[in-house]
Subunit: 248 residues, 2 copies
Amino acid sequence: MLKKERHDFIMRQINLHNRVLTSDLVQLLNVSEDTIRRDLQELVDDGLLFKVHGGALSKSYHSSFDDSTVYARDSKIIIAKKAISLIKDGMVVLIGGGTTIIEFVKQLPQNIAATFFTISPLVAVELAKYNNVEVILIGGLFSKNSQITYGGHVISQLAEIKADLCLMGTSAIHHEEGLTDTDWEINQLKKAMIACSKKTAVLCISEKLDITLRLKVCPIESISYLVTELEKGHGLLEGYRQKRAEIL
Amino acid sequence: MLKKERHDFIMRQINLHNRVLTSDLVQLLNVSEDTIRRDLQELVDDGLLFKVHGGALSKSYHSSFDDSTVYARDSKIIIAKKAISLIKDGMVVLIGGGTTIIEFVKQLPQNIAATFFTISPLVAVELAKYNNVEVILIGGLFSKNSQITYGGHVISQLAEIKADLCLMGTSAIHHEEGLTDTDWEINQLKKAMIACSKKTAVLCISEKLDITLRLKVCPIESISYLVTELEKGHGLLEGYRQKRAEIL
DNA sequence: ATAAAACACGCATAATCACGCACTTTACTT
DNA sequence: AAGTAAAGTGCGTGATTATGCGTGTTTTAT
């Protein structure tokens, strides 16, 4: 069989099943592994597919998300790195949505081993890239604005969960008023999330500190960890340092 | 034998088999390799075929190969446009995952008004862009491979739904064997999806026609609509036309 | 931590190719 | 009819390409 014919065959398989295994191709085409690897490499060079350990994936299936346009991305990465230390192997983690959280998920070490419950499809997709992670997506009505599931169905499912840790972003946090928000549904949701977790960590960039919005989610005492991009001793954190929450 | 005769012979072989090997032609025509190479080169110069190491391929074969990703996308867009007619305002639609389905969702008219249940986070995110659409994401274990939710929890939730229409892609469809798949969980899932919908539409590119995989999802009789990029009267659809399914 | 699988790299080999040259055939001129 | 230019063909030689194997490394799974 000619090389081009093999390439064609491989691309057909890719378009059909979105992925191919090197070992399968070796059998189907009756050539050595090296030849298949070389074929795959050439197709990669032509930009026709995406190579991974064990085979190759369709290009269209895996090129969907844009990294660059996230606001205050650097700060969020700093926050993410700090927050990683909160996750221990085997933990059951309940995790929210929002850009800060997504950045956190992207920064997780590749070998992380834990169970994640999430209400955010985007977080679920990111988490799925980790082999030792089990992802449970909590279903329900899907919010167009915040890209998370919400509503009674979500809350009743949350009630059945007992998580070791809850990670969430926030619109506002204040050292006296605690966590607040503007949206009634999200408010309810966050309450439920906090209620079903032993500990709660809030990840937020410093510009959301000392802001109060209309609806109260919980007092500052309900928060176990506060993670910002600031140094532990930064002045802005003074008011929070006196509370129970640990500051990272 | 004259040069012209050899050229004709070569072109006949090309049209017959889509390919020729230099070595075969040497034997068949009883001339030296050089002569064959020169012949092939002249045919290439005339734009009649495409030369590769070891022989030559038909021009059409090559063109259907090099832009295969674009080709597949075009097909999927054609499929999407056809399938849109199945959605009526106010319908409750159950929709699966996969690239064909995602392309379908992207093609929906902006003013579409319906309720969508889905097991695919990516589909949910796309659907959320339509103002008059209500999206319910069915939660459960999240599959790393297929980027959909699956497992018992999903299936039990599906059992509570009664949808007007179910839209799904497929890995394989055969006019005798019906819908088949390779993955046990996805198999179960699809069965459940079909069971809870009044009608089922299968969206698939023609390359997936007449393929049978290991696990049976349902007989062809369970499918209400078959949507491919082919014309209604295309020969490949003959076997399906005799079944109950309506072909779009 | 460990073993198995998948991988990358260099090398050897065989097939395929390109090019120059010589020889033959063809076709055209005188 | 003979001469001649042009085209066609085959062969030798060295270059290029394709492939498989061995070895050691990386990745993955347990």
